[in-house]
Subunit: 309 residues, 2 copies
């Protein structure tokens, strides 16, 4: 039987991994030979969710193999965030909640993007639409994705649909939303075993803004100063990435999950755009505190893109 | 109350006009201040449907005005097929059944594309999802769109979902599907009052294929030779369009609605791509018969795009 591969973006986060696993499960239940995959390593936060619900991580792939008939993208659509040979494969579906950019197909497809906080919220609706009931595992993984993407329902990207889905899913998964949510986020904010290179690459995404190439990396932390004690090493790694990828701007975002602010480090010839986008002044260390900013998608990408017209 | 404008593509066909009208109706019923609009003149086929169900054509617009908060695109997504100032407006939603190309947004949106034969089939589902019942008018207009886009359910683009929707909608609209369908298509194939320029522009769409600019115009006819008696005039008009728009290829497609074939006329420096795409030889008049080809989207665009790699 022909195989459909389902995967999220590079530098996978909890929504990308869990949505791939759960959508493959839903697809198999309605008769599609679907397998989940991942394009990068599993974060501590995601591993916490997988361990809690006793689910294995999907297979790692470098590119889509010849045995795959078509692919389904979850949690992304921009080709530069996807598998390297994305232009050579048949895209059957996209399920996403991001802006649409740098995406095209030769043929019609099923494309479903909704302006909600998390891909998992859309997938939860698709279980209903297909009359498939959740297991504890599928509910638990979708819940984990929502908690992760909405910072426990506190991000400005969080919608009523995400809140409702989270409460229903927590019930089915048999967990206390608040307690499990904090445990999950804290597992993700444990950066003790990370190298400086890990920090700037583990959740990094590249964007085209006007003519500019911009990379934005984000880490969650309980204490942002613990990250910035490595300022010099961070700058060394980021400067190398800017050179290798010929970026105009690299924005490193450290998000304080307790206070819901972000302290950013901006490097590259277009770093002034950060000042303009957020009406702040970068200090001598090229850093600035962005009060109330936690969402890369809704607060950072949107504001920055506007400055690259 | 802020206004949302809903419109389909330039050179509007019956799906584009009817989907805009009906989706605006659905939106108003769920509390959105929506108005339909059109980007070109109403075809005879569409006018037949509007007259039959006693519905007025939407307002014609040249560009989106300043009083509009956001827009909803139906039946298209490629910017070159949309309103001229599309890059300056906020796109809230897209409901479509075409390939995705040359489309991007700065922010997340509701984007729903399904690989079905007609936008109206998706809208029919959205009535159900929103628990809004059809009137005779909304059912009749959606039915007309399905008949038009699927050539009375005979096009290879037609899916099970389109067939099911058409039968249900015919019942609500109170018409005999086969009889009303033929009347509608015949009204569209009446080209007696058209100028040669009308013929090559009334349902023309521009596509980017690789680096090439390709325009494909399609007309339905009961007797294709009646069109090609104007071969010389057709070539004069098309050659002018190629020059004005700097096209690499203009493909004029005359579809025989009784035999379900198309006779095409290819002009432009890339006309050899047509021979390659359909494995045919153009005759001395730059024409070829494409047996069984009726769908621009599924049969023509797909095959041609592959030759511009």
């Amino acid at each position: 039987m022909e195989k459909t591969l389902i995967f999220g973006h590079k530098s996978p986060d909890t929504d990308t991994i869990c949505s791939a696993i759960v959508y493959a499960d839903l697809k198999r239940k309605i008769g599609v030979n679907a397998e989940p995959a991942r394009l990068g390593s599993v974060s501590k936060e995601t591993q916490y969710a997988l361990d809690y619900f006793n689910v294995e991580a999907p297979q790692y792939i470098e590119k889509v193999g010849d045995d795959v008939k078509n692919v389904i993208l979850v949690d992304h659509n921009e080709f530069q965030q996807s598998v390297d040979n994305i232009r050579d494969v048949q895209i059957a579906e996209v399920i996403d909640h991001h802006r649409i950019s740098n995406f095209e197909t030769k043929e019609p497809l099923y494309f479903r993007a909704e302006p909600v906080g998390c891909t998992a919220t859309i997938l939860n609706n698709m279980f209903k639409e297909n009359s498939v009931t959740h297991t504890m595992e599928t509910a638990g993984l979708l819940l984990s994705a929502i908690i992760s993407d909405t910072l426990l329902l506190k991000s400005p990207t969080c919608t009523k649909a995400d809140v409702e889905a989270a409460h229903v899913l927590a019930e089915i998964a048999g967990v206390n939303l608040e307690q499990y949510g904090l445990e999950l986020l804290e597992a993700g904010a444990d950066l003790s075993d990370k190298s400086v290179l890990d920090l700037v690459t583990m959740d990094a995404k590249e964007f085209s803004m006007g003519e500019a190439k911009v990379e934005i990396a984000q880490v969650n932390a309980v204490d942002t100063s613990k990250i910035y004690q490595f300022q010099t090493d961070l700058e060394t790694e980021i400067t190398q990435i800017i050179k290798d990828k010929q970026l105009d701007l690299f924005l490193f975002v450290v998000t304080d999950i307790l206070n819901n602010d972000s302290e950013v480090l901006a490097l590259g010839q277009a770093k002034d755009n950060v000042e303009q986008a957020f009406d702040v002044k970068l200090d001598d260390n090229n850093r600035a505190l962005l009060k109330g900013v936690v969402s890369r998608k809704k607060q950072i990408v949107t504001n920055l893109t506007g400055t690259f017209k």
